[in-house]
Symmetry: C2
Amino acid sequence: MNLKELAKHLNLSQTTVSRALNGYPEVNKATRLRVEAAAREFNYMPNARAKGLATGRSMSIGHVIPTSAKREMVNPVFGDFITGASEAYVEAGYDLVLTLVEDGDEERLYRNIRDKGNVDGIIVHSPRMQDSRIALLSDLGLPFVVHGRASDITSDYSWVDMNSRRAFERATAFLTELGHRRIALVNGLEHMDFAYRRRKGYLSALAAQGIGPDATLMRAGEMTELLGHKSARDMLAGPDPPTAFLTSSMVTAIGVRRAIQEAGLQMGRDVSVITHDDELAYLKNGQDVPLFTATRSSVRAAGRCAADFLLQMIAKPSGGPLHSLLEAELILGNSTGPAPRPGGG
Amino acid sequence: MNLKELAKHLNLSQTTVSRALNGYPEVNKATRLRVEAAAREFNYMPNARAKGLATGRSMSIGHVIPTSAKREMVNPVFGDFITGASEAYVEAGYDLVLTLVEDGDEERLYRNIRDKGNVDGIIVHSPRMQDSRIALLSDLGLPFVVHGRASDITSDYSWVDMNSRRAFERATAFLTELGHRRIALVNGLEHMDFAYRRRKGYLSALAAQGIGPDATLMRAGEMTELLGHKSARDMLAGPDPPTAFLTSSMVTAIGVRRAIQEAGLQMGRDVSVITHDDELAYLKNGQDVPLFTATRSSVRAAGRCAADFLLQMIAKPSGGPLHSLLEAELILGNSTGPAPRPGGG
DNA sequence: AGGTGAATTTAAAGCGCTTTGGAAACCCGT
DNA sequence: ACGGGTTTCCAAAGCGCTTTAAATTCACCT
C-alpha cells in the first residue's frame, strides 16, 4: 500500500493524506483521524527512499569505523557504543548505517558518503592523533561527531570523549601513593588519540613524583588478552620488574592477570593492576566488589551522548559544535595494594 | 554535481550519461570514456535515494539484532560477524543498516522494515528456539538469512550455522575419554537455539557413557565472565564438584578459570576446561599453544558466508534457500588433562 | 443574496535517478 | 541515391513522496 492507493481509498488527495500523517496543522481534525485510522488499518508505511528524495533527508546516521588494516579487528567497545547510540536513533526515527573502512582510502569514502546522500550525519570512530578526517569532514559540510578527539587539530568540531589523560593520571597517582615506583603501562596503539592521551596522563603523574619514563615498562598494541599477557610476562621476567600495571582495557588486564599468576605471584598483593573499564555489557568488572581497581566510564553512555549531539546538530544546523568530556571514576577493587618492600616477602 | 548537471556539461542527455556509467552496451566507447572521465573529474556519485527510488532496490542489507530485554547487551561476537559480512557488502556495493530491537515489538518492526523499503534483505541474528520471526519473514517476502537455526521450525529457510551439537558432543566425549565423569556445562541462555543444541550435544555424549544429566552441573545465562566465575565457584564448592567444565564462550571460560584459581586449583591438572572459541579478533585463544582446549569456528567466516548467501538470493530470487553448516574443530590447549583420581592428589 | 477571509483541500511540480519507446545518425550493398 | 539494419543517442515517463501555489468550501456578516 502506497500513498497514492491510500489516498484513492480515502477519496482524498495525496497531499492531504501526506499532511495528515505528518502532523501538518492545515488539515481538518476529522479527516486526520480518518486518515490515521486507514493508515493503521492497511499498515501503511511511507517508502523511505521516496520520502528521502522528496525531503532531502535520509533519516539515517552513518557510523564509520576503521578496521585496523592488518588485524581487521573491530574495537570491542563498538557493540556497547551503538547500543547507546541506538536508543537515541530509535526515539528520533533514525536508522543506523554502518561502514567498515580500511585505513587508506578514507578520503574517497567520506566524499562518497556525502554525495551518495544516504546519511544525514556521521559518527567518526577511533580518531587518530592528527586525524585528517576531521578537516575533510568539516570541508564536506556533513554534520559529524567524533567519538574521541584528535590532538593537534586546532579547528573546532563536535566530540564526545572520556578524559583519558586525567583518568590515567589519577590511576597512576593512586599507585604512587601506594608506594609503587615501577609502574608499567600496557596501552592501546599509540597512534590512536586516546592511547596517546593515556600515556601522557601516566607520564605526567610519574613525573610529579620524580619518576622518569622507562621504555622497558611501556608497551602498546591492539588491546587483546595476548598483549596483556605477553607484556606482563616479559616485564615480570626482567631484571627490575614492575610492581604495578596500568592497562587500557579489561581484556588486556585479564591477560596481565594471567601472566602474574603464571609467574606464581598474586595480583593485589605482589603486583597491582589498574585497568580502564568501559563497562562493557559482557565484561562487567565484578559484581559487588570490582575484580580490578579501575577507571570507569561507560562507553554506552558516550554512544548515547554522541548520537544526541548529532541529532541535535542535524535538527539545528546553525548551532555551534558540541563537546562533552566524560570523567572516569576511580573504583577500588582487589587488584591493588601497597607496593611490596623491595627484597621483602 | 548531479546527473543533470553532468549531462549538461557533457552536452549529452541524462540517459546516455546514466547508461555510460552503469555499463550499458548501447553507448559509444568514445563517449563512455568521456563520461567516465568527467564523472571522475567532478567526483560525481549518484544519489542513492534517487537511484533506489528509480530501481526499486536500496542496495543495503539490514542486520537486525535483538538486545536481550533486560541487560541490553549486544552479543560480543557481533563485531566479528559484521567484519566478515562487510567484506561481501563492500565488494558488492551494498551498505549495512543496523537495527537493534528489544524483544517484543518485532512483528511490527519487520513489517515496517519491509514497507519502508530501505533494505533489500536482512540477516537475522540470535534465533531463539521456536522463532516466530522466520515464519513472519517468509510471509513478508523479504529475502533473509539466519545466523543460526531455529529448532522446531519445519519450513525451509536460509541459514548459516555452526554445528553446535556435534561440537559439544565431541568436546564432551573428549573429556569422558580423559576419564572425566563429573562434567559441568556453563551454557548461554537456553532459549537461544545455539545453546539448546549445545546442551543436547553435551547430554548425548554423556548418555553415551551412561552418565545421566545432573542439574547441579548445568548453568545457563548471558555469556559473561561473571557467569563463568559464579557458576564454577558454586560448583567447585559443592559436595561432589566437577572435574571438568564445558563453556560456551571464551569470556565465560575466563571466568571459570578465575574461579578455579581462586579455589587454589590448577586448570588443566585439577580441573579441565573446554570452551567454544569464536575466534574473536580481540580475544584470540593463545598464540602458538592455545590457552584453552576449544571447539573452534570462526564467526567472522560465518558472517562472510551469510552475507554471500543473502546477496546471492537477492541477485537471483528464484533460487531456493541456502544452507551452510560449519564444523568446529577441536583444538588442544593446556586447559585439559586426565581426570584426577578421586581422593588422589 | 452577496461578499469576505479563514479553513480545508487539491493539482501539479519537483526531488535525482532509470528506463521505455523512439528518433537520429551511420554504415553498407545495390 | 536509397532502403534496411546497426549504432548511438534522446525526450519523457515514472519511481513514491513532499510541497508550492491555487482552488474550493465554509462560516459569518452585511
